[in-house]
Subunit: 396 residues, 2 copies
Amino acid sequence: MKTFNYSTRSTRPDFQGDFLDMMLQATNKPNLISFAGGLPNPISFPTQEMAAATQKVLDQHGTIAMQYSIPEGYLPLRQFIAHQYLKQGIDISANDIIITNGSQQALDILSAVLIDEGDKILIEKPSYLAALQVFHLYNPKINSVTLNHHGIDLQELTAYLEQKPKFFYAIPTFQNPTGLTYDNETRIALANLLKKTNTIFIEDNPYGDLRFNDETFLPIYPLLKDQTILLGTFSKTVSPGMRIGWIACSNSYLKQKLLAYKQIVDLHTNIFGQMVLHQYLCDNSLEQHLEKIKKLYKEQAEQMITSIQKYFPAEVKHTIPQGGMFLWVTLPQKLTAVALANEAIKHDIAIAAGDPFYEEERNVSTLRLNYTNCDLKTIDQGIKILGQIIKNLLAS
Amino acid sequence: MKTFNYSTRSTRPDFQGDFLDMMLQATNKPNLISFAGGLPNPISFPTQEMAAATQKVLDQHGTIAMQYSIPEGYLPLRQFIAHQYLKQGIDISANDIIITNGSQQALDILSAVLIDEGDKILIEKPSYLAALQVFHLYNPKINSVTLNHHGIDLQELTAYLEQKPKFFYAIPTFQNPTGLTYDNETRIALANLLKKTNTIFIEDNPYGDLRFNDETFLPIYPLLKDQTILLGTFSKTVSPGMRIGWIACSNSYLKQKLLAYKQIVDLHTNIFGQMVLHQYLCDNSLEQHLEKIKKLYKEQAEQMITSIQKYFPAEVKHTIPQGGMFLWVTLPQKLTAVALANEAIKHDIAIAAGDPFYEEERNVSTLRLNYTNCDLKTIDQGIKILGQIIKNLLAS
């Protein structure tokens, strides 16, 4: 086999990828209880509705659905998204939206258009691990603002903004990995701080629609307008397999740059899927569908919290998410999450150790638990075993 | 509106993009006869077969089709592709294949994994313009090997290989934009030259299945094996809108690098579309479907050639494609393709001037004509008008 010379980009270490590979190798077990992943619960997938939508699209617009299309994405789908924003008090035009292959591709497009090697960017601590992986492709200098129960540490944010980062990437609502949410005061303060800078605010919001109660949060977009980029996705509400996400950007120059890059890297997002999804959204109530998912996830979250409070030692702390798919656990400092993960997998339980969610910290005592992919009984059973393992490790 | 700092990558000039934008602005006309694009003929799209395949997939495997999937792509689809290769004498395993969002994304993944700024790469002269755009994102030094009626100029190739390019990107069969094909002697000579180097041969083959007669060409892969990367797509045979292409790479280390990059930039290609396409391929004969397209395109190509020979001045040269979607016209040197394109659009005819298909040459006298998207009468009518315009311009 010949050996070739690879780009620097592709030979750089990938801690997140290596860590995940290591974890994945351990999880190929048949009777595994997994709290490690981030998959939507498959019982929420509207398969028959999607089949009906496909028949309709192919009957009525088959030629358009199978032909090349435009890089922006399907206009009626973008109009639907714009209308959803409007209901939240966010005035975004369909022309400001670019459909992407899931919001993962949106992160890559943004990074490519904004980051030169060595540029500063700002993220949350901890942050979404696959966002870290994308950012690393472009080799920026990354600072991380600590999350807390109000949102973020505003003093840290102030200090880091002085270093003029290109953007601040955040998931203010039901964050991955922590399940934390920025309160309204933090949102206003954040906007006021950013307004004085040229730092773009990238708000990723995959979980915002999955809230367990009626409380809504102040949208940040109206406070910052075209200094904000919004990322969204249908992966957590309808189907991740269809890979349909979006970028909303009302700064027209930036939008043109993003669009040009999108077109160069893959011409456009699959139009067949976009049109089928749009037809599904026209013929069915997304609100009703969301009610079903939220009820399901709320019960699962409540079960996990109840079980944690029953089985975990009192010195173990955890977040109480008001929506989304995850909660975040902090062990006593003497116990690392990796040690717990290694012991748990021997008992057929998978958890996500916190390490890959950080830019710098290693051997941390924090971990992420996902509650959306097990039934209530399994959640209780798994947390019970995990509690016993924690107790044993703390005692040893 | 705030102004932000963009990456160097996104502020570099994009001659190809600017040129296309300029051309596109002119072509928003209702009664346009377009020989400029590269769209498959929509009458070839199997819309009802695709609807039936979707119903079957969602009935039988709906949960898998809507859930997250693996970056490699759907295994049965990769097995289908591997089997197609085997029929051509190319022994590629399904494990060597990565499904991408069309082969455009394959070009981006390859460039990202292989090119550092300033690295040398080699392309054909002229080459596929959207490949040039992708390569430019990574700022390599690009050399171009002249195409001729045997394939490529082997002396030029020899000289350029001494500069140790990272890869040679070529479309040896029914090339875009020229419609030229490498003969078997050129294929063997090319493989022998490359074998002595560490230059990767990237063979893009979107049109190989669209051949107008029974003549097949020697596959290059068996001569170069894991020094070759094959790119393929269903865009020209089934549907471009579904955005399903692939990379075949039997060099396992390189394949791992490509796969890791694919996962980071968008997790995976839409699995819904992959499974529907695979079901379509299982329940229908791709060969029969191809026969229909080939018959259609052959008649269209023959009509265009007949009309050219009837209406164009004798000093205008053109290729005679044995398959694919394009032919290449060379005007007398005193007439530029841009001058012709500008005059033609006034008469509601769009052509693709050759300029954006070259890395360096400008104000060229070559142009691309697509014959797959007009009926026979329109082709004759458009070529007749174009012939008159050429005569007028040459006389003036």
